[in-house]
Symmetry: C2
Subunit: 209 residues, 2 copies
């Protein structure tokens, strides 16, 4: 059965982006520091059309495994706005992407198989659509923080990966704000460390399912 | 040369204690959840006089290594107040403990070699005293969060360990609030995982030293 997951880079003090993010400042002030490890990976460089090259070690394997399992994506409006202004023409998803937004907009098809759908519905209905699209593959809750928090607090996440980097941000967008701790428990599935990043894999046990 | 370090358990959402902590509610509401792994260790049970028994695996080894390197401790007033009401008569430090406080109080000697000194001085002077006491052993900044933040932001920490537990708190005392990111950088020294906790060892590179 397909799973619902998220996978996100986080600074040791809990931030996934710096302050003042937007279309002209993707990831906010200093936010790229958190994600330095990913820019070096072959898989990421392929996806973002940075050309040939990049690291091919275990960080790249982990990233590739995550990307290859995705059958559909769900993201918040703010993440989409930052991405729309900065992704290459061939957007890096190659699968359906549901964007949670009040804005009405026709689907936006990109080269390489990414289709953006703009949906003003509750998160359960959106997940149903994404599951149908994903088939036997998995659904990634792409971000940002608020979108991930909504799905966690609704008891809809099966597992997630934190790519914890040895970085302090001081301020910015915290991943785990507003968490309702009664909704779920966590188990450590696996931890893989490399010089740049610690990959933490958790299983989520949702109590109200 | 002796090192200045801290070692603290943290929930995945960044808390080291729950809300409403105090002498009658040590670690705050739900705060013991964060530290469950440590209560099971042989070394901890010895220190807190819980009797014989406890786990002797790698979690216990890591804890023992940390305890055995300590030559002196520095802690904040709030941590002391919680501890004073709850530590056994033979307090679990067996070395000098400097308590940062405005309160004037004579040194408090406990069985087993713990001496509490109450100091109303700047954190640099207190560290000098602790270093003198520690000799070739290390100085632990015991906590709480505010005390650790002060030493981090003053560029005085050499290394630290986070015992990251698969727990969400939602609210409480955040370890890494008010961090001044320009003061230092981090390097991952080592990561050791166990079913209950992920031990993250970091080296601190202080830029203004």
């Amino acid at each position: 059965m397909s799973k619902v997951f998220f996978s996100v880079g986080m600074s040791l003090d809990g931030f996934i982006a710096g302050p003042n993010g937007g279309a002209k400042n993707p990831l906010g002030d200093g936010g790229t520091e958190i994600h330095k490890w990913i820019y070096k990976q072959k898989k990421f460089q392929e996806m973002l059309k940075f050309g040939e090259g990049g690291e091919t070690g275990k960080d790249n394997e982990i990233l590739s495994d995550i990307i290859n399992r995705i059958g559909a994506n769900i993201m918040g409006k703010k993440m989409f706005v930052e991405g729309e202004a900065n992704w290459p023409e061939e957007a890096p998803f190659h699968s359906p992407v549901y964007v949670l937004t009040h804005q009405k907009r026709e689907p936006w098809e990109r080269k390489g198989g990414t289709s953006f759908y703009f949906v003003n519905e509750d998160i359960h209905s959106v997940l149903k659509k994404a599951k149908k699209d994903a088939g036997s593959k998995d659904i990634r809750i792409s971000g940002g923080a608020s979108c991930i928090q909504q799905y966690l607090n609704a008891g809809l996440i099966d597992e997630f990966t934190i790519h914890l980097t040895p970085v302090m941000m001081g301020k910015g967008v915290r991943l785990f704000d507003n968490i309702e701790k009664e909704i779920f428990s966590l188990q450590i599935n696996e931890v893989v460390n490399s010089p740049m990043v610690t990959h933490l894999f958790y299983k989520v046990i949702n109590h109200k399912k």
